[in-house]
């Protein structure tokens, strides 16, 4: 039942590295992470790879498989032609630590820059009443498993290290959108801040982030575009501009 599979695995660290060819057994139904583990247990005991749940729920085993950002635990070996060689490399947009493990600390620094949820001061625990339809908009973005594949694929930073300082990336645009659409959050001007401080304007809507999202979150259509539109609305429509100045809470438009 087992057949031989040819793999090319990137091995190395920040200073040096290269693709190494290996041949490994593969069984019916196995995912790429399974064969990486088999290589680790039988041929390369010190091969570095991050993983956790092996069920597409934690977002740890992000890497590039034949150049495409993917979760190794959700990529079936059988999705590639049987005689083809599979090439596995670490996430390209982030510095490599070792082998398939990249330094994703950029994302945790960006998370720290996004203003947190603010609960209404006078709303006691348990007193909140929200309709399902209203929570669903934010819930879509809260499905995010922080695999950072969207961050990895985004052209704004993938080949432009210099943009990282001023660009939070798709993961954090959906975080801002989630809070912006949160029925209870009271912090104002989240969209404007996304535009002015987190680089929302740098996104040119190529939808690559949506395409690689393993949770199928419609990052571009449901988070980025609506925020861009409203920022433009408020900025250029004199009536809306005035409204934004008088209304207590800017919230969901």
């Amino acid at each position: 039942m087992a057949r031989k599979l040819k793999l090319r695995i990137w091995r190395g660290d920040a200073t040096d590295g290269a693709l190494k060819s290996v041949e490994v057994d593969v069984n019916e139904g196995e995912v790429v992470l399974d064969v990486i583990h088999r290589v680790q247990a039988t041929q390369m005991g010190d091969l570095a790879v991050r993983w956790n749940c092996k069920a597409g729920k934690c977002g740890s085993c992000s890497m590039e498989i034949n150049g495409k950002p993917r979760l190794a635990c959700m990529t079936q070996v059988s999705s590639f032609p049987e005689d083809s060689e599979i090439t596995i490399t670490p996430l390209r947009a982030f510095p490599v630590i070792k082998d398939l493990v990249a330094d994703v600390s950029f994302n945790y620094r960006k998370a720290m820059e996004i203003p947190s949820y603010e609960h209404p001061k006078d709303l006691a625990p348990g007193a909140a009443r929200m309709q399902q339809v209203d929570v669903e908009r934010s819930q879509e973005f809260r499905k995010c498993i922080e695999c950072f594949l969207c961050q990895d694929v985004c052209h704004v930073v993938r080949d432009h290290e210099e943009n990282k300082k001023s660009f939070a990336g798709p993961r954090f645009f959906i975080r801002i959108a989630e809070l912006d659409m949160h029925p209870l959050d009271i912090l104002k001007n989240r969209k404007q801040k996304a535009q002015e401080e987190h680089g929302l304007g740098m996104c040119n809507i190529t939808k690559c982030c949506t395409e690689v999202c393993p949770e199928h979150i419609r990052i571009t259509d449901n988070a980025i575009i609506p925020m861009k539109e409203r920022v433009v609305d408020v900025k250029y429509d004199p009536v809306r501009w005035l409204g934004s100045k008088i209304r207590k809470r800017e919230g969901i438009v």
């Binding site: 139904g29 790879v49 092996k54 729920k57 609960h119 348990g126 309709q131 809260r142």
Partner: protein, 627 residues
């Protein structure tokens, strides 16, 4: 050796799952400085895998629910081996813990009135589980992760740095909990990225490391579930209680082999999924135990009616506690009525429309579609038992989660024992980690007030460092991957879901032999992100945990909850009065029997006396609870 990184904190939290993060929030809000240490990246802990929900008797869907009903369900589920005080605190406090999450931004699914929706689950009398589709654990961990970030942002404003008072040390393994003069003094470990060693000096340590599933071959646990906290606490002088009780979740995936063990949420049954064997029989009707006969329907018609009218019908037997369902599936497969791949069928497609399934069970749909090529809106899933949860754990004081016997050590979440007795109800884990995570934080705060400083001796540092270096100095020794695989084989075959005394004795011998060989594990490569090196330490912990489980299992000559002895098939009231306490003498694990704390009268009186008669001895019934 390279220069040692040294830190001083008021409290070190080991583990960044739900319990650890909740403990950290509590300690930081009370003004303490906190180190959060975890083996994975921040936000990846196994809590994200919890699917069904968090049990809390808010009464949003059925207002008959209250803490007393929840307490009763929890005790029944654990077959009355639970520590009554933990079950009581848990039932009373879990609604507040859920509502508190909402003030930090959590977004649970709603009822029509806009309250938090609650779903049915095995063993819970009323719809009780607060949930977000089938990704409730992710919501919990993200909410607390974001709460930690919010507190760090506040520290940045107040003290000039986000990490001035609380820092997450991600991808760092703790190899030792350190004591001086009989009290906690800190913890020692290494960065997984580069192998550099780290010393934490702290008067309080909270272990919140989760479970032990990786000791077993088929498990729903991730690689992190290697019993680290269990073993570290044991080695630091704490006790483990009731380590024979492992929960085999009835529904793990069975096909294809690479996904064997991955969890299929109990919500599938909560939403109306039924179990059938290869003959098409809905077999659970045959497996309703005597103690549950008045609560579970013994025919299909009544089961079906229950979904519409819960007040006048008994529940479907698919919603029996997990231990019962697992044993039933095991028996069906053994009797030759299993599926092609050794499981049974679980089908929700006949009760719910495709649209509703995708909405209520989105990650299940996704998981089966992507990993098994099965569309659960049209066809049945193949499922079978998988090692899911350890009921046993560090013996603690219920009110402050303090580990008994080690001043300054606390334990919360799955790593702590007592709360769930011999079997945990689904949904009680997420609420457990919130309730006791907070209490562990409070316990540490009170302790640190009286014990503000700690320092570690040079000798302790040198010993800890030598242990980390050792595997690199051995040439041509054992391979940690193969030893791990051997251990999993032993536990699976000999201390698994059904046990006999003879098998368990064999397991104890084999585990000891593997442990002897593990002292000779050698590691290839260097310290830089080296999984072979990491596994060497995990393996040490798993071996200690397995020894404790096997030895406790040998002594308990009855079947109860997550411990089934083929040679002692019944439940025996005498054994209900006994906890098994594991301790470590530096060489091996020793077990002693310890009487259970007696249930006080006010809690005793919450039960129908005829129900208690099924679990307790006539003498206990005559006493009617303690005062």
């Amino acid at each position: 050796m390279t220069s040692l990184e040294k830190y001083k904190y008021d409290v070190v939290v080991i583990g960044a799952g739900g319990a650890g993060l909740r403990a950290a929030v509590e300690a930081r809000e009370a003004g303490l400085s906190v180190a959060i240490v975890c083996k994975s990246l921040f936000g990846k802990a196994h809590t994200v895998m919890a699917e069904g929900g968090a049990a809390a008797s808010m009464g949003n869907v059925n207002d008959n629910d209250n803490w007393k009903v929840h307490f009763r369900d929890t005790m029944r589920g654990g077959k009355f081996l639970n520590h009554y005080r933990m079950a009581e605190l848990h039932a009373k406090e879990s609604p507040d813990r859920i509502w508190e999450l909402e003030t930090w931004g959590a977004l649970f699914d709603r009822t029509k009135e806009g309250k938090i929706s609650q779903r049915n689950f095995g063993g819970h009398e009323y719809p009780r589980l607060a949930h977000v589709g089938d990704r409730t654990g992710l919501e919990l961990i993200r909410t607390m992760q974001q709460r930690i970030v919010a507190l760090q942002q506040q520290d940045a404003k107040d003290h000039g740095s986000a990490e001035s008072h609380m820092k997450v040390f991600a991808e760092l393994t703790i190899t030792e909990i350190l004591k001086e003069n009989g009290k906690i003094a800190g913890a020692y470990g290494y960065w997984r990225e580069n192998g550099k060693e780290v010393l934490f000096e702290a008067p309080a340590v909270i272990v919140a490391t989760g479970g032990v599933g990786k000791t077993f071959k088929i498990t729903s646990n991730s690689w992190e579930g290697t019993g680290d906290g269990h073993a570290l606490a044991l080695k630091a002088g704490a006790n483990l209680v009731d380590m024979e009780f492992l929960q085999f979740h009835p529904t793990g995936m069975v096909w294809p082999p690479s996904v064997r063990g991955i969890l299929v949420t109990e919500s599938v049954r909560g939403e109306g999924g039924i179990l059938t064997n290869s003959l098409g029989e809905r077999f659970m009707f045959k497996y309703i135990p005597e103690v549950f006969k008045d609560k579970y329907a013994d025919n299909e018609a009544e089961s079906d009616r229950w979904y519409l009218d819960q007040d006048n019908n008994r529940r479907p037997p698919e919603l029996l506690p997990r231990d019962e369902v697992s044993r039933a599936i095991n028996s069906e497969v053994k009797a030759g009525r299993g599926t092609e791949h050794g499981g049974v069928f679980l089908d929700v497609s006949k009760r719910l429309s495709a649209e509703v399934i995708k909405k209520r069970l989105p990650s299940m749909w996704h998981q089966f579609y992507e990993l098994a090529g099965v569309d659960i809106t049209k066809e049945a899933m193949e499922v079978g038992p998988t090692c899911h949860y350890v009921m046993g754990g560090v013996e603690v004081e219920p009110d402050n989660a303090a580990a008994i016997g080690v001043p300054g050590l606390f334990a919360a979440g799955e790593v702590a024992g007592g709360m769930h007795g011999s079997n945990r109800l689904g949904g009680n884990s997420l609420s457990d980690l919130l309730v006791f995570g907070r209490r562990a934080g409070m316990g540490a705060v009170a302790y640190v007030k009286n014990n503000p400083t700690a320092s570690v001796s040079e000798k302790a540092i040198a010993d800890a460092a030598a242990r980390i270096e050792a595997p690199f100095r051995r040439a041509g020794g054992e391979n940690s991957y193969s030893l791990h695989a051997e251990l999993q084989e032993v536990t699976h075959n000999l201390v698994g879901i059904i046990r006999t005394g003879k098998e368990v004795e064999e397991a104890i011998e084999k585990i000891a032999a593997i442990r002897a060989r593990s002292a000779n594990v050698a590691v290839a490569g260097d310290r830089k992100f080296n999984p072979g090196f990491h596994l060497a330490f995990d393996l040490d912990n798993m071996l200690l945990v397995a020894e404790s489980t096997a030895k406790s299992a040998l002594l308990r000559e009855e079947s109860r909850g997550g411990h089934t002895r083929d040679d002692f098939p019944g439940m025996n009231s005498k054994w209900r009065q006994v906890n098994h306490i594991s301790s470590f003498d530096g060489n091996k694990v020793n077990i002693k029997a310890q009487p259970l704390p007696p249930i006080p009268k006010e809690l005793f009186d919450l039960f129908d006396i005829h129900e208690l008669e099924k679990y307790m001895t006539p003498e206990e019934i005559a006493k009617g609870g303690s005062n």
